[in-house]
Symmetry: C2
Subunit: 378 residues, 2 copies
């Protein structure tokens, strides 16, 4: 189902092709996040025009609202939201451990209360896989335990054991037709835990492998180390997915480290706060200095926003709380993420990725927070 | 600039064509409202797909934010917001009298404080026309005084006198190339004031005439009477515009009374509250009874929303506060308003409008508030 088409000679970057029931995905790929059956502020046409190949849906959120009875009656998530290309669903593990009030963790899963109305719910490997079967996603994720950044070694250890036991159980559950299942490597920044988790998962023979426990509040260098500790133990013949990441520059760094798939709320989330991504870093599109700037958000960009509107207009829309402002930044940011992936694939085809990545990172100005974390490492 | 192409034999309905610098408008026409240089939640492509021929912009709001310096530097409102079809701008009179804290009304205009930051501003016939010239709208409105519903006869009288004096002054101001100017009939529900105001304005020879002082909180029967008192005194050869109106059924009633142009925030405003218009009345698209209803918002509708999504999906989006929900209802409601106008024009061409209007009104269920006001009249 996954073909490795080329590997970069300078970095670990890979060009691949992943075949799913709803279509073929060229990798490296960025997956816009449609938590509640909608990529925030965007419609399917805008997603397709941006070059979206696959989106992500959230098992936990969809289970809470609208619930599986309604999605089941609609004929699955694709039909419910009218999205005909592939969908990857996460397992709900991350949300249960980060959003919900946990009442009890047992061998079979987690008893918790809904983050909305406090109603009691239970999610474990069986339940998660059953919901993901009902959603009919092309790629399902195993139900894992993801500890927050800065947990104790003992907690990471316990999370790895539980994640492995649950992965084994997920592996055996019924699936939707053609549905692939990916394992998730946990283990924090402990090399021996990452290695053990990866090796055990690989022995279970999943269709792909994700690195989890990243993008949980840790500084960038720690995130990169977690990836570097996990990747060497994953088979070349399967796709690798870094969960919840990242900025444009981080994706380039992660592709260089052998990652094929990404998902991140950043492009649409920061858009709603008035932040525009460019290939040279992000800027505040709402700031006063844009008020009479009649250039597009990013010069040369071919997205709907940049072909039609100026910074001055977008700044005005954001300033007066017009929905079109955040809509257009969502379109621009998502387009930028997806065209970056297309550019990366082109360079991998041509054998020029190493040079491209070096150049991209040299010109990209990260946020102050990322820069501070890098400095702290030196 | 206005051609009267046909008049209905049963009602006073008219088919017309209005030529402006940015294009030809077929009447009867509905003008979506783009108060702050954006029709709320919609982009220009969605407006064009809905059949929009002309939009409205608000002088008062645009004067406050972003201000004429920026719109001037952009080359006018069309270029600032990238809208190439006609634009009608109101004069700011309505907003000054309804939104702002008035400090003093003089012969030359109104001293008031911005509704945003309390900063002192002045708007009168000269200032309003100067701003509208700078905006470069195809149709400018005179600066009028619009008293709230239920004002005293003396107040309506004074407002008519002031409106006429200001109209005369507006008439003499410089205009943008090809810009038309419409007079506004005030006078509340006093037939003699409406007649006097209309006759005096007509003597000034404007390019078109609006009925103002409607949609200011009065019950529907009173609104219809205000139109009926004004219309007979307006020349057949010019377009007539009912300001701030109305529901689909009200537009049919007003077209039957000889009105050619409408603007209203209803289709997009109620969309943001989860209300969907249909040709048989409005309903709450957010209500629980839609949760497993897999029909479109309105069966047979050809808008983007109805061609792609179900009531169950839209209800879910509204229920979980996803922007796509209110976006899609804005698209649907606006499409419904505009296709209704296209249908009306087709019936006027065919000579079947009277029958169509009777049938439409017989099947349209107005809101409880409108029905109560009708009952109170009996």
């Amino acid at each position: 189902m996954f073909e490795l088409l080329a590997t970069d000679t300078v970095t670990k970057a890979r060009l691949g092709r992943l075949t799913t029931p709803h279509g073929v995905i060229d990798t490296p790929v960025f997956m816009p996040v449609g938590t509640q059956a909608s990529v925030k502020a965007m419609d399917p046409r805008e997603l397709l025009e941006s070059g979206t190949q696959i989106i992500l849906g959230n098992t936990y959120h969809l289970h809470v609202r609208p619930g599986m009875e309604i999605i089941g009656a609609a004929g699955g998530l694709h039909r419910f939201m009218n999205w005909s290309l592939p969908i990857l669903t996460d397992s709900g593990g991350f949300q249960v451990f980060s959003l919900a009030k946990i009442r009890k963790i047992t061998e079979h899963g987690v008893e918790f209360r809904s983050h909305l109305d406090g109603s009691p719910l239970f999610l474990g490997p069986r339940e998660s896989m059953q919901i993901q079967k009902g959603l009919g996603s092309d790629i399902a994720m195993v139900f894992d335990e993801c500890p927050p950044a800065g947990s104790k070694p003992k907690e990471y250890q316990a999370a790895v054991e539980r994640t492995l036991r649950w992965a084994r159980e997920c592996r055996e559950q019924p699936r939707a037709p053609g549905q692939q299942v990916f394992g998730i490597v946990q283990g924090g920044t402990h090399p021996e835990l990452r290695e053990r988790c990866a090796r055990e998962l690989v022995a279970m023979q999943f269709d792909g492998y994700a690195v989890g426990g990243v993008s949980v509040g840790e500084p960038e260098p720690e995130m990169l180390r977690a990836i570097e500790m996990s990747e060497p133990h994953l088979p070349a013949a399967q796709p690798r997915y870094a969960m919840g990441l990242g900025t444009p520059a981080q994706m380039i760094q992660l592709i260089s480290r052998g990652i094929d798939m990404f998902d991140c709320v950043l492009p649409t989330r920061v858009a709603r706060n008035g932040t525009a991504y460019t290939h040279k870093g992000a800027y505040n599109a709402k700031a006063g200095y844009n008020k009479a700037d009649f250039r597009p958000i990013e010069e040369g960009c071919q997205c709907y926003c940049c072909r039609h509107f100026t910074r001055a207009y977008i700044r005005h829309l954001l300033n007066v709380d017009e929905i079109l402002g955040l809509r257009m930044l969502s379109v621009h940011n998502t387009h930028l993420y997806l065209t970056l992936m297309a550019e990366v694939r082109q360079h991998l085809r041509q054998g020029t990725f190493g040079e491209f990545a070096r150049d991209y990172l040299a010109h990209y100005v990260p946020t102050k927070r990322v820069l501070a974390a890098r400095d702290a490492e030196r």
